[in-house]
Amino acid sequence: MACICFALSGLVGYRVVAFILLVTVSILAITFDILPVLVAAALSAFIWNFFFIPPKFTIHVSATEDTILLIMYFVIAMINAVLTYKIRRVEKISSIKEERANSVKLYNTILNSLSHELRTPLAAIIGATDNLQTNSHLTSKDREQLIAEISKACLRLNQQVENLLNISRLESGHIQAKNDWCDIVELVYDAVKRVEENNRDRKIHISINQEFPLCFLDKGMLDQVIYNLLNNAAIHTETSARIDISATIHGDILAVLIEDTGSGFVNGDIKDVFDKFSRSKALTTARRGLGLSIVKGFTDAMSGNVDLEKVHPHGSRFVITIPVKSSSIKLAEYEPARDINR
């Protein structure tokens, strides 16, 4: 910079050079810390004096006018550096404050959603057991129903705890995919079976090629992703809605589609549906939120992607894509040669 100024000094005179140097110091102040900026300010004052103010190449200043200018230059450069630094510090503090406020908001949302999610089944269990213990007028049918309610509430609690454990695993940050060869057909059928067991009135339609190649991925994570999406679909759509799951592989991209003909998400929800504990007006969405942030977290951990699309005329489609290594099955490779005698 000083060199450019030196070249220009013949053209524009040494006083303009001072301003160019001042601009340089100001620019430095925007990006660097206070100490290097102060050093730069002092150095530039020295450079201006040494190289530009006549007589050149001496620290000596001949004109009184130039002495005043030099002192002014030095003071302005210093003030400039200090002010910029202060402004930056205030900005930083306010952004930390904002972050803190956001995390408090998030924390409250979690607590609200949690206390609702945990207390509802607990209330059912306490109510039912109290009734069973103290109410002597219960018919045997009443008793059966109360016990069924307790059982249902326990399953729900268990699912919530499972979700919380998953969330805290994801939150801890050091979650890593443990990849192994995985039979996608088996995984899909197993997840569907569990969802159907928990939602007896639902039937999920599977469409998957029986000759699906083995995929190298974290089975537990993919299972959680698929299970949560299917379970959400089963819980949050009307019984009459159809739920479909399909899986395909193109090159090294595994794609899983989960589609329902339910009433779908509200347009505005679609953008932030995967946000941690996303919560629209209705509490039911908060319930979805926990599952969906797990879905998002685990797909991220597998370096994959999850998208939500609207289906016409109504319904939702989740598209999960994950880059995987796959292996087509050639049985003979795995069979010790001398063994094939049957």
Binding site: D183, V185, K219, D223, R342
Partner: protein, 228 residues
Amino acid sequence: MSRPEILIVDDEPQMRKTLEITLQSNGYTPKSAASAKEGIIMASNHPPALVLLDLGLPDESGHVLLQKLRRWYTNPVIILSVQKNEEDIVKALDNGANDYLSKPFRTGELLARIRSALRSLITDDADTALNFRDIQIDLSARLVRKNNQLVRLTSTEYNLLALLVRNEGKVLTHQYLLRAIWGPGFINQSQYLRVFIAQIRKKIETDANRPEYLLTESGVGYRFISQI
């Protein structure tokens, strides 16, 4: 028939109480211990027919207790674990546990596992022709029939199936199966297992996608079960 004795080793009083009631009312004689120390004393004073062992004990890890027990105790041990930690479960199975259940579990599941563990004790060196609903396996002739039709299995398929059948009800870990069928150099080749299990299912299951005999224990291994 006498009521088989089952020793419960669990430090949670609530869990012990529930298990005692469940076992008592299902034809077993439950005994309980609240710590590893108490457990090992009770087991050696009067060896039970089966041990239900919680892995998280206050005085000593369930893994250590299991190793101590296995020096002389040959009856089945079923692990109760509160964490679904696959490594933990595999470790316990490798240390000689017959089966595991993660808490919370359904009572029906627990009773089924106990029945199957006690049964495998009886049929360990019994007859070579086995009947399971619509499947017949003749271990001496190495033949498998489904609905009276001969099932054509390759040698490896047969060996894998026979190993699982001989350990009916018991979870065999991936590493155990790979070592036993392919050899010690193959314990990391899990894709071999996946391929062969899928292949055997296509041949012996009525619906290979909804297996009734050859069950997957996710992240742990496989088991053959004879009763639904």
